[in-house]
Amino acid sequence: MDGLNPELMRGSLELMVLSVLSDGSKYGYLIQQRLKDASDELVDLKAGTLYPILHKLETKKMVRCRWDDSTGRRRKWYELTAAGKKQLKVRVDEWQAYVECLRRVLGPLADPSPMPA
């Protein structure tokens, strides 16, 4: 398989971004790198995709941000809000239920055991 199906991925991008923020605040570039590392480079979000997601989470009050000038450049840090943490939990549960459901529906098709000859 060559990369992930972007159609499949689209629905989970917000979830992935929220999850990366669960262990502490990060700025955009760092979030991008963390997603890349954690997914063995399968998830390589373009900035053009990432920033609209971050801004959307911000308007939905799932993340809050603060500016930091200490590195010499103005840098925008994102962290989860209480609502964001709650949302992350809900979305993880949803995702698990979905995977379970899909596994049951697909049955042997999704089973890694070898196909009969």
Partner: protein, 636 residues
């Protein structure tokens, strides 16, 4: 620091992002941090400076798509405020965001297009002549209809939208709840409609269309009902024929144009629909409101003999047409169609509207991914390249540039008036235009456009937008090259003559003529023979023109002729002095036979009709030959 290159990218992006300065600068700071960090890492990994800059920017993706996304995220914030407010307070909140007036009716803008408003043909009056005569015409000219408003409705119930409109425009509005509910709709269907700067009438058209609803005004009350119900609501509107007569246009031509130039149904032609009749100097048209709306503009364009021949678009539509020719620059990678539309609409500052209903019916999504990088081409060409892959097309409708399916665009015909006075024998256009353009034509293909030529040298064509574009360019060459360059493909010159007759006679003749006079020269209802040498070219059609007072066919005669059909009581008139006598009139149902034939056959038809003893005045009125020097010049 490669700040320069990044700053260029960011300033392009900033220009495209439609947010306030503070938001823009925050976005620029954040993205600049990202670009620089990425650049440093790429340099650390061994790339040279230029290569690192290029790659950092490449990875970022296209600025236009990002700008659209970032703008949209912030706009959603505004929309959400309205949604959260709930149904009860929605109407109140919308006042803040909703129909704010930008400026009063743009009458001046309209009048500046010489073709848009009829000029009195007999005088040089500066003010446009009023062609429509009826006293209740204010229903058609309500000033609020032309006001420009900002519309921002998001999931707002229809009833609230109308209530708001009613209060704001001070017009009573009646929602036909019975018809709406019979059509399976709710009176509080959610309306989603967000447009900057749109005329009230156009906003109504577009908002209601999605639900197959429409509107009309009667006695100052704006009714909102289903299209079906509104189509049965016939209203009379009368027009002064004098300006047309002064422009040299025969009543028959006028009737032909009125009947061909709209979507309207006509009782005699279609079995059901409106009627039109000319009595004296007054033409009365009986049609639903929406049919009447477009007519004054069309008729005005025809009556105006100095028409420059550009069509009868409204000011907003002219703006769209002009903007389509403006060069644009796009760089989309898998950008959803609706975002592309929003981006182009903002960039060109014209309303562009996605015909979501038709698009979704065709099995497409409004967020189909668009990928196109191009610059320097006109908006029209750019859109065509982008849309053709999805079988989508653009058309101008209700003052908006619409993106719809090719199928829908091809069904939507509208009339444009072309000035062909510079073409020596414009009747040749009846063959040349269909031959040199790719449209369908009613006459030839059984469905499609129609053409009429007026005596004052105007060609009225009803076609799709796409074909109008082709026609305009064909006509341009003809006009530019003058008389010698008429296409050699035209072998026989067809002439249209109109014969106004009692309906019964017309019906008999319609079937008798093709079998009696040179049967080999008629082609019936089918398509024309592909053989260019075929003689079968003639057609005969009949249209009803309603009831007619017979004496008016001979306005010149001083004494009242006694009609043979009026024999019984007409003699009584002898006892009274002739002048003050009320005109003895009889009213008969009349039709016009429209015969397309070569001049030679026309003359034989005229002889034949005379031999039947038909009134001389009913005979062949030429409509496609111009009077005076122009047609005379054709012999040289």
């Amino acid at each position: 620091m490669p700040e320069h290159e990044f700053q260029i990218y960011l300033s392009v992006l900033s220009r495209l992002v439609k947010l306030d300065e503070q938001q823009k600068s925050a976005i620029a700071d954040e993205l600049s941090d990202h670009l620089e960090e990425r650049f440093e890492e790429l340099v650390r990994s061994g790339l040279d400076r230029d290569e690192a800059i290029r790659q950092a920017l490449d990875e970022f993706g296209d600025a236009s798509g990002l700008a659209v996304d970032l703008t949209r995220v912030s706009q959603k914030r505004i929309r959400r405020i309205i949604m959260r407010s709930g149904l009860v307070t929605a109407a109140l909140l919308i006042i803040g965001f909703g129909w704010a007036f930008l400026f009063p009716p743009a009458n001046d803008a309209l009048n500046s297009e010489p073709l848009l408003i009829a000029q009195d043909a007999t005088s040089n009056a500066q003010t446009p002549a009023k062609i429509a005569l009826d006293t209740d015409s204010s229903d058609f000219d309500e000033p609020f209809l032309k006001k420009k408003v900002v519309v921002n409705f998001r999931d707002t119930p229809l009833t609230d939208v109308l209530e708001y409109l009613s209060r704001e425009q001070e017009v009573p509005i009646l929602l036909d709840a019975v018809a709406v509910e019979e059509a399976g709709l709710l009176v509080d269907e959610p309306i989603n409609f967000i447009v900057e700067k749109i005329r009230v009438d156009q906003a109504l058209d577009l908002m209601l269309r999605e639900f197959e609803l429409t509107w009309y005004i009667e006695n100052g009350i704006l009714h909102v009902t289903t299209i079906e119900v509104a189509n049965e609501k016939f209203l009379n509107r009368s027009y002064d024929v004098a300006p047309f007569r002064a422009a040299g246009i025969a009543p028959g031509t006028l009737l032909e144009i009125v009947m061909q130039a709209t979507d309207a149904l006509w009782e005699e032609v279609d079995g059901d629909g409106g009627r039109v009749s000319i009595v004296g100097d007054v033409m009365t048209i009986r049609q639903p409101y929406q049919v009447h709306r477009g007519l004054p503009q069309l008729l005005g364009a025809i009556a105006n003999p100095s028409a420059p021949g550009r069509g009868i678009y409204q000011a907003e539509e002219m703006a769209c047409l002009r903007e389509l020719e403006v060069a644009t620059s796009v760089n989309f990678t898998d950008t959803p169609l609706n975002d592309v539309v929003e981006f182009l609409s903002r960039q060109h500052e014209i309303p562009i509207f996605l015909d979501t209903v038709s698009i979704e019916e065709a099995g497409l999504l409004t967020d189909e991914p668009i990928s196109l990088a191009m610059s320097g081409k006109s908006l029209a060409i750019t859109l065509r390249l982008m849309l053709s892959e999805f079988e989508l097309a653009t058309e101008i409708r209700s003052g908006e540039l619409f993106i719809t399916t090719i199928e829908v665009a091809n069904e939507h015909l509208h009339s444009v008036v072309y000035d062909v006075r510079k073409i020596q024998d414009p009747s040749q256009l009846f063959e040349a235009v269909p031959a040199l353009t790719s449209g369908l034509w009613l006459e030839r293909d059984g469905w499609g456009g129609t053409m009429s030529l007026t005596e004052n040298g105007l060609l009225v064509v009803r076609q799709t937008e796409e074909i109008h574009r082709e026609i305009a360019s064909v006509l341009k060459t003809f006009v530019a090259k003058g008389t010698n360059q008429t296409p050699h493909r035209v072998r026989r010159t067809l002439e249209t003559r109109l014969y106004r007759l009692p309906s019964e006679t017309a019906e008999d003749l319609q079937s008798a003529l093709p079998s009696t006079i040179a049967p080999e020269t008629w082609r019936g209802d089918g398509p024309p023979s592909p053989d260019e040498d075929s003689l079968a070219v003639g057609t005969v059609r009949k249209v009803s023109v309603g009831q007619k007072v017979i004496e008016l066919a001979r306005p010149k005669s001083t004494s009242q002729p006694v009609k043979k059909t009026a024999s019984g009581n007409a003699k009584k008139a002898d006892e009274k002095p002739v002048p003050p006598a009320p005109p003895e009139t009889i009213v008969v149902s009349e039709s016009v036979l429209i015969i397309n034939q070569t001049a030679a056959i026309h003359n034989r038809i005229d002889d034949f009709l005379r031999s039947l003893g038909l009134d001389q005045s009913a005979l062949g009125r030429k409509t496609t030959k111009l009077s005076g020097g122009m047609s005379g010049g054709g012999f040289f």
